[in-house]
Symmetry: C2
Subunit: 344 residues, 2 copies
């Protein structure tokens, strides 16, 4: 096999102890002590020794061996973040912000993408579990309740965001108010004077999409504006989109809502293919696109999750659960919108 020798660490706690002329217990003690407001070491060691120890550690370039520390304490100072696709800018931004917050509190963050596949979701949860994370922040895919339950059984805290698993108990939640998001989308359109609103989505039981559509319908009803929704098969959505939009136009629909990221992409793609002008032919509201989408598509408006807020709420909820056994509650977030620069 490998004839690589066991490489021992260059500077261990023992070296620091010797160099400082104290015991390793004391070094560990001091190095793990909290700091008071004036920078004093809050431990029974005398300030003088404490300072000498810290100074020695720095001089020798000592850094705690994480593996040893984890092994002993069972803590890992690591959190796991699971999303469907980190190269989706929306998730990328949330992950970045979580990473930043986590780093500030001394946590390491593990990221993984599931591609919305249950099987890889399960594998990733296991992988993180066995890598020893202290908690999870998860945008779940449908039908992974068992996997989440497995985490909870180990008494590790879980915060869900972006998508809910209705009925799942014992988890924290940071969710967009999707009904409000739907209403917001419709309002963006009526404000431009649109008179007949269409929505395209695929066949699904994802609560997010259902709630968004419900919100749209509700708002349109209140405004006394006709609202039509087209429901496509998920697999053929991209293809069917073109004819659906074509027909909608014929039928006098003057505004279209694409209620998710994937639908928005396919929708914009179809509109380009049809050579339609936005907002000339249609006014459009997309969902879950990145902040910069407006730059690329000046005619379109978007409804989004406030990524920073989602990241902050999720991480703070998780870290307080890990550290202080803080409550895992449900937080509902208000949607954000970006107006297109060319409107009707």
């Amino acid at each position: 096999m490998s004839d690589r020798p066991i490489v021992s660490q260059e500077v261990t706690i023992r070296d620091v102890a010797e160099a400082a002329g104290v015991s390793i217990s004391l070094v560990s003690f001091v190095l793990n002590a909290r700091r008071g407001p004036g920078g004093e070491y809050l431990c029974s060691a005398s300030q003088k020794t404490a300072e000498r120890i810290v100074e020695t550690a720095e001089r020798l370039g000592y850094h705690r061996n994480k593996a040893a520390s984890s092994l002993r304490t069972g803590r890992n100072d690591t959190i796991g973040v699971i999303v469907s696709d980190i190269s989706n800018t929306c998730f990328g931004q949330i992950c970045r912000k979580i990473e930043k917050l986590a780093t500030e509190l001394g946590y390491l963050t593990l990221f993984a993408s599931t591609d919305d596949r249950k099987e890889s979701f399960r594998q990733l949860v296991d992988k993180f579990l066995y890598s020893g994370v202290d908690g999870f922040i998860i945008a779940p895919c449908n039908g992974v309740e068992d996997s989440i339950a497995k985490i909870l059984k180990r008494r590790l805290p879980v915060v869900l965001f972006d998508r809910d698993l209705p009925g799942m108990e014992g988890v924290g939640r940071v969710l967009l108010d999707n009904e409000k998001a739907g209403r917001c989308a419709v309002r963006l359109l009526t404000r431009q004077g649109c008179r007949h609103i269409g929505l395209v989505r695929y066949e699904t039981d994802i609560p997010t999409l259902i709630a968004r559509e419900a919100g749209c319908r509700l708002e349109a009803q209140q405004d006394g504006i006709p609202f039509t929704s087209a429901i496509l098969a998920r697999e053929t959505m991209r293809r069917d989109m073109v004819s659906v939009l074509h027909n909608a136009r014929e039928e006098g629909v003057d505004a279209i809502i694409f209620p998710s990221n994937a639908i928005t992409i396919d929708g914009i793609s179809a509109i380009n293919e049809l050579g339609f002008d936005v907002p000339g032919d249609f006014a459009v509201v997309g969902f879950d696109q990145e902040d910069r989408s407006e730059i690329f598509t000046p005619g379109y408006s978007f409804v989004n999750q406030p990524t920073k807020l989602v990241a902050e709420y999720s991480f703070r909820m998780l870290s307080s659960a890990i550290r202080d056994n803080g409550a895992l509650e449900t937080r509902i977030i208000n949607p954000l919108y970006t107006l297109g620069s060319r409107l009707k």
Copy 2:
């Protein structure tokens, strides 16, 4: 302090040993054995005991404690990936692919974003170093040679991608052929019949940008086509872009190249602000945008890194360096391009 008891693991190697009626050494031995082509365990243990041990481990739900294993072996089966911004789709895609490849080989991947700031770069390298990664894949920012040297001093392998640190020795490299990318951009434009090509960039010594511009100039020269480049101050690029493009148009420039991601964003933004039509007023080639950009901006063409290839080359080079002491070499990648759907 914490009155949380030391939580011991639910199933340890000792439990497996007892349940299987063998010693822990044997369990470890078998569980770490390589598998032969027929699935046999390549170790001195008898196949029968080996199978019994594996079966017992599975039945009990045993999973190796990573901390203990790392502590003992010094190996961590973890790699660190550092980029400027993981929410940049280009990097997001590369990271995803690396994660996937790494997972297949049993590695855990740590990601981090530096925002192109030297100081956070250094901190992240340290963080990963002390977290115990076995190697690095890095898109560096300028002036971090010292930090890379620190990694090399610990004899950990490093593969650079996206951006080079010229003169740095002992690292692997997976880089785009930037000169060729520049030439490619010009060719996309001349092919559409453009007669006067402009390029906008900011003042910099980043080799990537310099090489791209050189490639553009070279190709334009060979084609006997006038080539003008405008160099802006980095800080005011966004603002200045508008007037630069306005003037270019006046001067008869009929094609513009934006030679990086950031420049492309600001450029497209300025074009929208000016109300210019693409490709009516200008033909445009942008750089480093995601695959889907064409959907959002039908008139634009893009030159990109082949993200999957970059990820594959980088990871394979790193993993072979980690496992088999494989060579760290320099690989130059050919650029990829996407044609806009509406061209001149």
